[in-house]
Amino acid sequence: MASISDIALVTQVAVFHNKQAFDQLVRKYQSPVRRFFLNQTLGDEQLSDDLAQETFIKAYMNISKFRGMSSFSTWLMRIAYNVYYDDLRARKQTYDIEDSSAVRQSANTGDSNIKMDIHAAMALLKPDERTCITLQLIDGYPIDQISKITGIAENTVKSHLKRGKDKMANYLKENGYGG
């Protein structure tokens, strides 16, 4: 369920069009939303910020549809997930993101070694696996919440997590972690 302060802020935005209240919501949730996109885009900061901005604008436009049956963060992450997959589909028409050297290059600039390794390991995963892995291991969502955010059945989420974790664990072992 949504927390009371979030519901109060959402009500302020939806009923009174209070932009100050929406400003508070953006400040509160900008970090997890941008971090989610940063991990999905393998460290492309510019693209992450553009997608995060689009997410918040969509949330503002559709805030009256938020029913409070889940937390505001889950609702927001669902919008973020849809925004990411819309963008992924649009860009797949021109080139395959998995083989994009531009994305990998941007992932390798200005980051610490651990971030480089995370993005390199993430690059091994399929988009759905990457989304499930980041939502569980970085954002800390349980499987039922991941299922709600992504609209993927819980058993499929479990399969994505299993495959993703196996791939990442092999990569880490090959690169000297856990030894």
Binding site: F22, V26, D139, K148, K165
Partner: protein, 129 residues
């Protein structure tokens, strides 16, 4: 029970999970790019209220000019008479009319009303979170 892979991954992602991204003007950029729906919406709402008021006034004037009350009274009393007639016909014909009802049809209809409709409502609500 957690296996070695889970422990390894948890350790690996520990730092990333703690990472907080500084705002650095992001919120201001979002707020600047929000669509200006307020003014447009309030204008549409105001126009809608004016249109409703206009229609109401026109309706009252037409009602007054055409002496509308007897028409409404006639319609109500006519409707009442039709309802009474329908009940009378039903009461007269019902005991002599045999309608065979298939119990499976009743079960299916009950199933639809008691199971399918609430299921659809819950599905729609959960889809909007």
């Amino acid at each position: 029970m957690e296996d070695k892979n889970d422990i390894l991954l948890k350790q690996f992602f520990e730092e990333a999970a703690k990472q907080t991204i500084e705002d650095n003007g992001f919120t201001e950029r979002v707020m600047m790019n929000l669509p200006e729906t307020d003014m447009a919406e309030s204008r549409v709402r105001r126009l809608s209220h004016l249109w409703t008021l206009f229609c109401l006034v026109i309706g009252l004037v037409v009602f007054w000019l055409t002496s509308g009350w007897p028409i409404i009274e006639g319609a109500i009393s006519g409707g009442k008479q039709m309802l009474i007639n329908a009940i009378e016909v039903f009461l007269i014909t019902a005991p002599t009319t045999e309608i065979s009802i298939n119990p499976w049809v009743v079960v299916l209809l009950l199933g639809f009303v008691l199971v399918f409709l609430p299921y659809q409502t819950i599905r729609k609500l959960s889809a909007t979170l």
